[in-house]
């Protein structure tokens, strides 16, 4: 045993002794959570249910390690206010950022390639301010950071994607559940359009296949689906409060196909009603059949 190894061992066992209790708890919670595929948390406070949902799936420490650079990707594509439910709830985003830092993340980055003017989207969505207040680095997209990535999917062979995604240690997707004219609903998988460069509007010609193609190369560590408010019509940007339904719910899962499939039920649909969920399931990217999932429901 050389000096370095000795020190390592000493350090490890040191931690073991000093934090024996919590270590045990951690292992227990990991064991317990491994069986849970989705957590559905319900409650009046968006930050509390986010907190509780992530805790129930094993805590942020299960996903984020000390020193990690984490990308937190909300949907903040539209120049809309939080109550219009076009963008992810800012409190949910801020809570996830906070949890990442508590788990030891070195840096948490929040960004989106917006549809409307980026300055307005960042500010009006309330996300930039909320995420910054939790310590996140919120920058606008830098066009130079898009690089052609080989995808070799059904619809997309290569596409310029935002390189920061591939340089990060962990990726947490925080979409909002809402209506969409073509995809029917947009949630987790469609949220990756926000890291596409170039003229991404053309992918609507083969939208379902293209979204699944993106999922081939982007592997989120965790998906937090914001259903605090859902937009039931005139999506993806809405604008009319009458189209917004308050569900006070957050869904957390590792399998993004499962999250989207469950998300469909919030709108009275099934996962199989969504083309991209079906295609993804067929390719084995995740589970569409939610009866096969272990879902934990909590209420706060």
């Amino acid at each position: 045993m050389d000096r370095r190894e000795f020190l390592k061992l000493a350090a490890i066992s040191g931690i073991g002794f000093s934090t024996a209790g919590s270590f045990d708890k951690l292992i227990k919670s990991v064991e317990a959570s491994e069986k849970i595929d989705l957590v559905v948390a319900h409650g009046a406070s968006p930050s509390k249910i986010t907190d509780a949902a992530i805790d129930a799936i094993g805590g942020m420490k299960r996903f984020v390690s000390r020193g990690d650079i984490v990308i937190v990707k909300p949907n903040m594509a539209f120049d809309r206010l939080p109550e219009q439910a076009a963008n992810t709830n800012p409190e949910v985003v801020a809570t996830v950022v906070k949890l990442c830092y508590e788990a030891g993340a070195k840096k948490v980055k929040v960004f989106d390639r917006t549809v409307n003017d980026p300055r307005r989207c960042y500010v009006q969505s309330g996300i930039a301010d909320a995420a910054r207040a939790s310590g996140a680095e919120v920058n606008h997209i830098d066009e130079r950071k898009f690089k052609d990535i080989r995808i070799n999917g059904q619809a997309i062979k290569t596409w310029p994607l935002y390189t920061e995604i591939f340089e990060a240690d962990k990726i947490i997707n925080i979409p909002i559940a809402k209506h969409h004219g073509l995809a029917k609903l947009t949630m987790a998988m469609k949220n990756w359009m926000g890291i596409m460069g170039g003229t991404r509007r053309t992918i609507h010609q083969k939208l379902d296949e293209s979204l699944v193609d993106l999922a081939l190369v982007i592997k989120p560590t965790l998906t937090v689906l914001d259903a605090v408010r859902i937009l039931t019509a005139n999506g993806p940007q809405g604008g009319d409060i009458d189209d917004v339904k308050r569900l006070d719910t957050v869904i957390v899962g590792i399998d993004q196909v499962a999250v989207d499939s469950f998300g469909a039920t919030l709108f009275g649909m099934k996962g199989s009603d969504l083309g991209y969920v079906k295609v993804a399931d067929k390719l084995g990217l995740g589970t569409m059949d939610i009866s096969k999932l272990k879902i934990k429901r909590i209420s706060i």
Partner: protein, 513 residues
Amino acid sequence: MQNLRRISQGIFLLLFLFLFLQTESKGRDELGYPVKIFLDFDPLIFITTILSAHAVAKAFYLSIVVVIVTIIFGRVFCGWVCPLGTLNNITGSLKKWRFNMASRNWHRVKYYILIFLLASSLFTLQLVGIIDPISLLIRSLSLSIYPLFNYSIRSIFDTIYSLDFRGVVGISESIYSILKKGILSFQQPFYNQSIFIGVIFFLILGLNLVERRFWCRYLCPLGAFLGILSRYSFLKRSVSEGCDSCGICASVCQGNAAPDKKEDWKDAECLYCWNCDDVCPQNAVSFGFFRKRTATAMDLGKRRVIVSMLSGMFAVPLLRATPLSKSGFSNPGLIRPPGSLEEREFLKRCVKCGECMKVCITNGLQPTFLEAGLEGIWSPVLISRIGYCEYRCTLCGQVCPTGAIKRLELKEKVKIKIGLAMIDKGRCLPYAHATPCIVCEEVCPTPKKAIWFENVKVKDRHGKGIIMKQPRVDLELCIGCGICETRCPVLGQPAIYITNIGESRSKENQLLL
């Protein structure tokens, strides 16, 4: 005095540039700074707008301050405040001037220009902004100099970034991020005619190498206007007996006011730069209040005054007698910003300062060339292929100095129609090519979407039936914001496009009952 004046010029120039840079959205719907305040203080725009439109924005009463200051202190605005004057001053000082160089005697020209402008505005033609110094400077900077500046700075840093020199990129990127926060625009702006507008601006600056403050001396109508007021000012220059006519004051005079010729002193031309006082070896020059006027009367020549008045009057029918006036409606592509007055009223007020184009967050507002007739040159038009009208943005109305674009509350703004989208079925993918595409509907910002789908069963080439979502435009709901045209994936001619039919500001230009 010279240093005091320079400090004043510097402060006002920096203030002007600061407000210019702040004429950019930061994401909120207010700018937080009175960015158009230099225009508000411009009495020439004030008067011509009153004459042409019989109305004026409230803020413009600030320009009375300049009138009062000029009556008390003389033409200090030109010498101490005007940012274009300061730039002229700086450019002129790049050249070494020979002592006793004869200057042109063209100072009357600016009065003729002024008379022309006043006469034409009396007959409802608003041309002042083309040549008013503040308006001209804002337009030149917004549409040409600043985009050029941005482009060059960005390409330098982009080059370093793409070459990826180790070590250098880290430093250059940190400098770049500071520049991006402070002085660069959020995105690279592009404008039609930016070269043309820039050339005019550089010519104006270049004239300072022909003669110091060439523009201020011979062309500036605001200078002429203040010059007339200045003749009655309380603060006057006088020369004592000690003067030995050495002529050194003439060589430093910025205004070409003939300070060395006692009987020929032109007080209206004096910029109150105090150079003559500073330089006089005999200390014979002084400025003071309530002194006897010693200057000669301004002799513009009756005939020439009449000619400039008449040409101002005749310019009105000359510029307006175009086929455009027959239909009352110009080019269907002439899409004015939301809140714009009816076209006639709009043209009576728009001074083409470019504030709205500078502040437009999508860069969609562009200067016209002849789309609105010669009369409307450099007025704003939305070119939807470049950028659209952001649904919840009201900035252009906030920065318009004359109210040509009304300031709208958000809830009013979202109801204003600036045009209407039309679908070209021969190009639209779901119609012409049985290929799915819903981009126009997806981006449509109205709360109930103005673009809706008709699900149509069509056959592909092999006779296989497929359901196609074919977009339709709801004529009532569409506000003509143009985002569908901006984002239409059909390149070249877009498959959906905006014309100004249905614009709220017009009674006639309507498609529906």
